[in-house]
């Protein structure tokens, strides 16, 4: 009889904890399931069927959409996108890491000010900010005219509507997404570890590469993913700053849904991007665990 009484110590406590957790996690879970998991599932389902004539789906099972994705023209778009997103990520890290480092070393009250400034651009409209780059980069724009005035170039050069312009626009758009996670990891880093390296004979540069950099790598990877994946999927910047000449996966997906009305093929392309995201995050998690040496924590606690 006593085995069924719910008041028996640990069982009841565990149940209460579970209920508590469900109550708090509930709204978030429902939101994510409704607006994230279900659409992804739909995309997965669509990818195996045929396109309807004016959009939508004809429920006839096929692998054709997947086969088509490997046609040279699409491979080209993919590799284009990877190069542009990769370059964007690299540049964003090269600019973002020192920025984050400098912010983390500021006196406490200036840190908040600097962080607000980093996210400030997010408070203005993304399209407006991207249009501003058109003004900056076009042949009569301030960049070209000051280069001509300075005598560095004799005539305006074509900055706009190039892959370079797309990269500049993407770096600008996603830089805060690198700075914030990198800042968090530098801020969290135990300052004494760097001092210990110095005490053991490492110069400041040496201590940075031996201690600071490896231990902030998890933050760096998060930042990289935050830039890489949305860069890959962005279609506004390639269109506005690339002038439609630079086609990226994002444009391709958008076109499939809105113009070509080929939902199943669009679904396949979207799935590729989603899978890439999942793989990257899994890699990030594995590497973070390795770096912190906590991979076997469960067994060592026993």
């Amino acid at each position: 009889m006593s085995t069924t009484t719910p008041t028996s110590g640990r069982g009841a406590a565990r149940r209460r904890a579970l209920i508590g957790r469900t109550v708090f996690a509930g709204p978030g879970l429902i939101y994510i399931t409704a607006f994230m998991a279900i659409p992804v599932l739909l995309v997965l389902v669509y990818s195996f069927f045929q396109r309807g004539r004016f959009g939508g789906i004809v429920w006839e099972f096929t692998f054709d959409n997947y086969v088509r994705a490997f046609e040279p023209v699409y491979i080209q778009v993919f590799s284009n996108s990877l190069v542009i997103a990769g370059t964007t990520t690299l540049l964003a890290l090269l600019i973002g890491y020192p920025t984050a480092y400098a912010i983390a070393k500021l006196p406490a009250r200036w840190r908040t000010v600097a962080l607000v400034m980093v996210v400030l651009p997010f408070w203005t409209n993304f399209l407006i900010r991207t249009y501003a780059w058109i003004i900056l980069l076009n042949s009569e724009g301030p960049i070209n005219s000051s280069l001509v005035d300075a005598g560095i170039i004799s005539a305006p050069i074509g900055l706009l509507y190039t892959p370079g312009a797309v990269i500049v626009g993407l770096v600008y758009a996603y830089l805060p997404l690198v700075i914030l996670p990198v800042y968090a990891s530098i801020e969290r880093l135990d300052r004494q570890l760097v001092e210990a390296a110095g005490n053991l004979g490492a110069s400041r540069a040496r201590a940075f590469f031996d201690v600071t950099l490896p231990l902030t790598l998890p933050g760096v990877m998060i930042g990289a993913i935050f830039v890489f994946v949305p860069s890959l999927g962005n279609f506004v910047v390639p269109e506005l700053l690339g002038g439609g000449k630079t086609v990226m996966v994002g444009n391709l997906i958008r076109d499939q849904f809105l113009e070509a009305r080929d939902w199943p093929f669009g679904a396949v392309l979207a799935l590729f991007v989603i899978s890439l995201l999942v793989i990257l995050f899994a890699m990030q998690a594995a590497i973070s665990r390795r770096i912190n040496g906590t991979g076997k924590r469960m067994s060592s606690r026993a």
Binding site: D190, L193, E195, A197, N199, A202, S203, P214, N292, G293
Partner: protein, 359 residues
């Protein structure tokens, strides 16, 4: 006392963080091969002093110099960056590199010296044996116990064979039993490797049992520097008397050969000719528990509130109505009285230390 030049000379070092004075005109010498302890309550500036020696804090004023390798010319430490100072610091939190295993942690400092692979490997193996970490060599710090981490931190510091090893509360994170073992091990290591140790602690028993000499610090100032016995028998001031050992303090006024407190006057030994506000320090082993009759001639009368039997000896705590401190008497054998008994207390005026109170 030897006249040899000290290994480390700290002269007039002060350091303030805003309004907080962490170090106030600290001067002390550390001799070659000695086990030196910096003792004081939390927040008295011990860590700040060690960090100044290691190069992670810049003193506002003062100088710190260490004897050069040729043992003749002193080197101005403050002019050197941390990585160029011949001093190793074992951090209070150990600061082990979480992304390196035990062997790599220990190797790190030797690699920075640019030693040959063979020499590094040999020295690392040696120190792994000395610290009993051989079977943990390829494990990450996250998988070690507190005591093991402490040993890795120690190994990482001593493998460098520094002239001076600074240890910031090396044992405070360990539980009582492990701590006692580690105290012995630290002493043994110091003899074995022949390095000068400066150990920071807030535990007076730890300092007393391990150190050759102790500097007692309080609010950024050095209160007294002496060997443990002197510190106990001849405390320089009330703070030291109170902090070291388990004495009771009587507050009163001193004149040439007597001490008045709580309406009574006690004979006392006053070699320093103290007068005015003073404190009489009663160590448990100097206090006798007596009867209360006039033949017993007690100096104070009180009620027993506690007795403890430690096997070979016992202690009796007596509450005297006017006195703030409970007075503790220790004596060999079993307790002679019971809680609640009225007893007298007396002591030999020659043994009780009289200290001036500075207003």
């Amino acid at each position: 006392m030897t006249l040899e030049t000290p290994l480390l000379t700290i002269t007039g070092v002060s350091k303030a963080y805003g309004d907080v004075v962490a170090l106030d005109n600290v001067s002390l010498n550390i001799r070659q091969n000695e086990f030196f302890a910096l003792l004081g309550p939390s927040g008295c500036g011990k860590t700040t002093l060690l960090r100044s020696i290691a190069g992670f804090e810049d003193p506002d004023v003062g100088s710190i110099s260490i004897l050069g390798p040729d043992s003749s010319t002193p080197i101005n430490l403050l002019a050197l960056p941390p990585n160029k100072r011949p001093v190793n610091l074992m951090f209070q939190s150990y600061a082990l590199f979480p992304h390196m295993n035990v062997r790599k942690n220990i190797m790190y400092g030797l690699q920075r010296e640019g030693l040959s692979k063979e020499e590094i490997a040999q020295r690392v193996e040696e120190v792994l044996v000395t610290t009993g970490l051989t079977d943990k060599a390829s494990v990450r710090p996250a998988q070690l116990s507190g005591g093991q981490r402490q040993r890795v931190a120690l190994a990482r510091a001593i493998v460098k064979r520094p002239r001076l090893l600074l240890l910031d509360e090396p044992l405070s994170a360990l539980d009582r039993k492990v701590r006692a073992e580690m105290q012995i091990e630290l002493k043994r290591l110091q003899h074995e490797v022949g390095i000068t140790f400066v150990v920071v602690t807030h535990d007076q028993e730890e300092a007393m049992s391990m150190a050759d000499r102790i500097a007692v610090m309080h609010e950024g100032r050095v209160q007294q520097i002496a060997d443990p016995v002197t510190l106990y028998a001849q405390p320089a001031n009330v703070f030291v008397a109170d902090f070291i050992g388990s004495g009771s303090l009587l507050h009163g006024t001193a004149s040439e050969s007597s001490f008045s407190a709580y309406g009574s006057t006690f004979p006392c030994h006053n070699p320093d000719h103290i007068s005015g506000g003073a404190v009489l320090v009663l160590r448990p082993e100097d206090v006798r528990v007596t009867g209360v009759t006039s033949t017993d001639n007690p100096l104070l009368v009180g009620t027993i509130i506690e007795t403890h039997f430690y096997g070979g000896s016992s202690s009796t705590s007596v509450r005297v109505p006017e006195v703030e401190d409970v007075i503790v008497a220790s004596h060999p054998g079993a307790p002679q009285h019971h809680v609640g008994d009225q007893v007298g207390l007396s002591w030999d005026p020659q043994t009780a230390v009289l200290l001036q109170v500075h207003p």
